[in-house]
């Protein structure tokens, strides 16, 4: 059974990943692992968009909205973490639901520009609405989550939380791609007109995916907020490019692409903190080179090698 084999592999990989902190207890390594897991989640959320044929530049803002929502729900409203966590996802999904029918009417490039403008406006609000969001100095002393009576206050616990979220996101994405919904979004990407002529309400499904994607991005923001206990608009600059780069590098055609992309790319700058400018420089060059020479990413490369070997044998 294929499902059985996948479940086995998935469980084994997760088990290994869960065990990582026991072998590498150093605080900075665990920090990198938390960030990687969060970017896997965010990368998968972007992957849902790309699979539908949409490039969104609003996902860094989506993550930020999730962060602020979750933090403020606990700080201002005194909601428990579990509720705040869900609220962060729902908040973004709601925004996607409201803006989607307008934004998604706009095809291709305009959608990209518009999501960029949206993210700018959102970030501007976080910067300027000081009484609520704390402006440029941001929010600090964000409470630690309590789940089932357990207080999350070590990096290790957050790693497991982020890992669980990443794992679930991966399963969600994979399930979607393998279901009727996955077939539908592939069809919309490949030949939208043809799909519509056969009775498919393409707009409805695009909004749906936008919402699911936003929901996941919001959740990743929530975990981030409570892990850092400190939020500022500045923290989200660069996320916009990272999340695209993860997909481009790994390959957007499979949910494994962004996972690989995040695992390889996110630790890099953290490991080479001293030479950050050069890191960024290399990042940029990598992005250009990948797009020109390896447009389908690592996954695409693997597939090409595999299929070449398949043909030879």
């Amino acid at each position: 059974m294929r499902l059985g084999r996948f479940a086995l592999v998935f469980a084994a990989v997760m088990a290994v990943l869960v065990a990582v902190p026991f072998y590498f207890p150093q605080r900075y390594i665990i920090h990198i692992c938390v960030m990687t897991a969060l970017f896997v989640t965010l990368g998968l959320s972007m992957n849902l968009m790309l699979r539908t044929g949409l490039v969104s530049l609003a996902h860094s803002a989506f993550m930020a909205i999730g962060s602020y929502t979750s933090a403020l729900c606990m700080m201002r409203l005194g909601w428990p973490f579990s509720v705040s966590f869900l609220a962060s996802g729902l908040m973004v999904a709601l925004l996607a639901l409201v803006s989607g029918p307008i934004f998604l009417r706009i095809k291709g490039v305009y959608f990209i520009l518009l999501t960029y403008a949206l993210s700018q406006v959102v970030m501007l609000n976080f910067m300027e609405w000081v009484s609520l969001f704390g402006g440029n100095s941001g929010l600090s002393d964000i409470p630690r989550p309590v789940l089932f009576g357990m207080v999350f206050n070590t990096a290790r616990q957050f790693y497991w939380m982020a890992l669980a979220l990443a794992g679930v996101s991966f399963l969600v994405a994979r399930t979607i791609y393998r279901s009727a919904l996955g077939t539908i979004i592939d069809a919309i990407k490949e030949e939208e007109r043809l799909a519509s002529s056969l009775g498919l309400n393409a707009m409805g499904f695009r909004v749906l995916i936008f919402c699911i994607s936003g929901f996941i991005a919001g959740l990743s923001g929530s975990v981030y907020a409570h892990y850092m206990t400190f939020l500022s608009p500045e923290a989200f600059t660069g996320v916009m490019i990272d999340v695209i780069l993860i997909n481009v590098f790994g390959g957007a055609a499979s949910p494994i692409g962004p996972v690989l992309g995040a695992i390889i790319l996110i630790p890099l700058p953290e490991l080479l903190r001293d030479a950050q400018e050069y890191q960024i420089l290399a990042y940029g060059i990598l992005l250009i080179a990948l797009q020109l020479f390896l447009p389908e990413g690592l996954i695409g490369l693997c597939r090409r090698i595999l299929s070449a070997r398949w043909r030879r044998s």
């Binding site: 520009l113 406006v121 940029g284 250009i288």
Partner: protein, 285 residues
Amino acid sequence: MGQLLAQILVNGLISGSTYVLVALGFTMISGIMRVLNFAHGEFYMMGAYGVYVLTQYGLGYFPALLIGAIIVGAFGVVMERLIFRWVIGREVNGLIVALGLSVVLKALALIIFGPVELAVTRPVHGTLDLGSVSIPYDRLLVGGCAFGIMLLFYFFLTFTRVGLAMRAVAQDEKIAAIQGVRPSFIHAAAFGLGCLLAGLAGGLMAPIYTVNPTIGELPMGKAFVIVILGGLGSIPGAVVGGLLLGIAESFFSTLIDGTVSAMLVFALVVLVIIVRPQGLMGRSL
């Protein structure tokens, strides 16, 4: 009230005119090559650093502005031949490549100049008082130069052979080719010219604000809003959209405040998209 409105209008036109310079190049490149140059703001940034460096070497402000912008334009031509020509017509791929270039240029600026704010000496001082409306001379200079450049650009597009060919390529590249126009030449020229315009805008604004590696982000964000407002690829759209944006911002931020202004402008953009998805001026040069 009338005085206030006049002041708002003047401020809006001046800031709008620099937006137009950035948006013109961006929209022209997208119209001719179907490439979204997300690195456009970095060419603006290069123009500002160009003026800074050249004036440090003792050059006067205006020669520095001109030479700096020409260098930026030449660099744009090189980038087009090296990178962008491979992604012509594929807007998403072009966008990712341009994002990469934007990261590279920002990192280079950071490596060369550091994260510090650099100041360029103002070429003029003082304030012009026209009764109720007062305009600092340096602002006036920026506005005047920007409108002058727009005029020159207009003449270039309307009355020169290459300008005409650029408009023709934007409308129908294949048909332009059978008239004898070499598309690759037009692509490189348009990309370079677009970057030169961005460089000029950066150089003009350098004395007013300080210079740092991220100064290109803001005007580029504005350029996006402008092309959505005016229509991607539309030259008149960039002018109308830019001035409109400048005046709207000036109006809202004087009467309310900056953040609300940004949100109102965004609401305006969404409104335009609902009513006219192709932008105010459609898609033609």
